[in-house]
Amino acid sequence: MERKKLLTIRHLDVKFNVRARILSAIRDITMEIYEGENIAIVGESGSGKSVLTKTFTGMLESNGVISHGKIIYHNKELEDTSVHVDPLDVYFYKQIKKELLEALKSCTSEEAKNLNTPERLNTLAVDLMCSIDRFPFFKKFGAFFKLKKIFSGAIKDNILLTDKKIDRLIAKVTFKVSPVDKNYVLPVKGDNIKAVCTIDLAKIKLNKDWQKIRGVRIATVFQDPMTSLNPIRSIGSQITEVIIKHRGLSNEEAKKEAISLMEKVGIIDAAKRFNEYSFQYSGGMRQRIVIAIALACRPQILICDEPTTALDVTIQAQIIQLIKDLQKEFGFTTIYITHDLGVVASVADRVAVIYAGQIVEIGKVEEIYYEPKHPYTWALLSSLPQLSEKGSELFSIKGTPPSLYNEVKGDAFAPRNPYALKIDFVEEPPMFEVTPTHFAKTWLLDPRAPKVESPKIIHDLHIKMAAKANLEGVMDDAK
């Protein structure tokens, strides 16, 4: 089944500057997130699972940067845009075109000359003009000079400007915006050009741009409901604020909408509790309010960052059920971040296991639980108390995760891995395909590797769990 991609993440690297040292929090992550799915990201604390999702909403701490890679957000609504041409734009266009044509003269390679025709360079100049149109006045100049330098340099260096290459070069500065009409060649003052842009979340720097995405199309529910709500403002005003700001409703309408949202997330007597404050709510109720705020703008993606870790089991079960029910109604995509494998089993369609800033295994939830391939996934499953015999020792992963300040050589998990091969300490394994939906990053899957059985303890997981779980009355169809 071909599903629509929502986010395409390619070779993403995130680095943090901590007291003059560089910490690589995310190391070369490539993955897709599809429309309508529930994906869970599992890992220990410090593995980078929160950092990864923070890049989707531009909420990295100020010392963090996306040093490489792209996050393409496929959203029809945002992709269609229009560019208003003012005299400054026309000036930029003319300058860029002039510079590029001049650069072409010093180009020596015949092949490059044949491809980089003046017509093609003209189209490029129009694209560049459109791409920098979003910037405010001063930043526009900066972007203009940078792009001009990059492209004239590229032409002088006899680089073949294929479409792909152009995209990559523009991506160094911003994301690409190009006119829908391919024959649009001569920008004139006062024109309104219909254009399409490729939204690369990794390249968004302007707050104005983020405001169209963060909270509106991609919303987050955080772990601690106490710190994500404002204690000195009433619950109602915090919900209506979002509705008024992003959906432009009037105060009355927003209040009505907020109360109906509160009812949807299971707040009894919502109209009365509208004017209460967060301290008058219990932990579970607060988390419901946070969910209501997140859903106020009907987001396309809901990121749940450990939404239930601070809550009790009974409340946890209710909140998870609530998110599931709301998903049926609103049809958003959810990204869960958690370290609880029980929660993952309950919510996820797909699971990505993340270790030391890399995805080590990704697949459908059944594949990860019943057919895991990576030793780290084996270790995670083995440490489930449900699988251990009572009185015996619980399986624990020896050692600690590697320090990400230093460059990790080979497989990051190798020092803690009892199944490590010699090559694991030397070369980083690639992603091996197990099935079209299941990938794992371990040398054990290489055809040349010795055959290694997964630990006995995680065999027949389903049978063992069924034997332990009290099926009576709990299951719809017992056994």
Partner: protein, 323 residues
């Protein structure tokens, strides 16, 4: 089995009430249970149910309103002689929930671990004290050179182990472990649990384990008490409780545990409990032993229902074994 075991700690009808001016909050209602030597007894319940309050009452932090706590045949609640008080404090140690806030940030690990030793002067010489501290550190898997460091230099798992080291250095007989693993990661959680188990085997320790993660509780405890709104509603051996929960609240707790198995988990039904299924207006409930070792809080009518259930199960099991 429980009858031939030595009772270490016994709670008799304790009530705990918090007062502030005229406001009163009844945190624990009429709660009694025994803990046997060498076992792990767990208290489970949601937050605010009073489980930590009971734990704190045992280590004499919280005052009782009524009832008494007996430790090895001696009353340890309320007004007791100073000498006995010191004995209790020494022999019953507590491991706190949050490793981030329960350690003195301004003291070195050496001081944190040996603070109890200083207070009771449990060492012969400075050398002896250092020796004891190092041993305690080693037994929790920390290195002797760590003792000059400060708590902020350690990770969450290591801090929790410092918390454990400072309790075991006192060579206690009884440890109240208040959610010692809920702040920890999966892999570290296993390390800490193994450590606690190892001490129990080596030193014959008795644990009162307070937790809300039921999958862990099932793995480590011998007996479990379920507490709801300050009242213990059910108490049984752990497998018995997990396999045959009787009280509806226990049932709802069980159904809420996420099972790490996608097929089962997606089929699971959730039970909610709000107390409305009980009608205690006329028929008053009491704390009864419905089956040897299995206690429940129920009224006469419910008792009949539960007994019937047990009977049915017995027949069912017998039939199952015949097959």
């Amino acid at each position: 089995m429980p009858n031939n075991k030595e009772v270490v700690l016994s709670l008799k009808n304790i009530n705990i009430v918090f007062k502030q001016g005229k406001k009163k909050f009844h945190a624990v209602h009429d709660c009694s249970f025994d803990i046997y030597k060498g076992e792990t007894f767990s208290l489970v319940g949601e937050s605010g149910s009073g489980k930590t309050t009971i734990g704190r009452a045992i280590v004499r932090i919280n005052q009782l309103e009524s009832g008494e706590i007996i430790y090895k045949g001696k009353k340890i609640s309320g007004q007791i002689p100073k000498e006995e008080d010191r004995q209790v404090i020494r022999n019953i140690q507590m491991i706190f929930q949050d490793p981030a806030s329960s350690l003195n940030e301004r003291a070195t690990v050496d001081y944190i671990v040996s603070e109890g030793l200083y207070n009771f002067h449990l060492y012969k010489s400075e050398e002896d004290r250092l020796n004891k501290v190092t041993k305690a550190m080693e037994s929790v898997g920390l290195l002797p050179e760590h003792i000059t460091r400060y708590p902020h230099e350690f990770s969450g798992g290591q801090r929790q182990r410092i918390g454990i080291a400072r309790s075991i250095v006192m060579e206690p007989e009884f440890i109240v472990a208040d959610e010692p693993i809920s702040a920890l990661d999966v892999s570290i959680r296993a390390q800490v649990l193994n450590l606690l188990k190892q001490f129990q085997v080596e030193r014959g320790l008795t644990y009162l384990f307070i937790a809300h993660d039921l999958s862990v509780v099932r793995f480590i405890s011998d007996r479990i008490a379920v507490i709801h709104k300050g009242r213990i509603v059910e108490l049984a051996e752990s497998e018995e409780l997990f396999n045959f929960p009787l009280h509806p609240y226990t049932h709802s707790l069980m159904s809420a545990i996420p099972i790490p198995d996608p097929i089962l988990e997606k089929k699971k039904k959730l039970f909610t409990y709000d107390g409305s299924e009980h009608d205690y207006s006329v028929d008053k409930p009491s704390w009864v032993e419905i089956k040897p070792g299995h206690f429940i809080f129920a009224n006469e009518k419910e008792k009949e229902i539960y007994k019937k259930k047990i009977q049915e199960r017995k027949i069912h099991n017998e039939e199952f074994e015949k097959k």
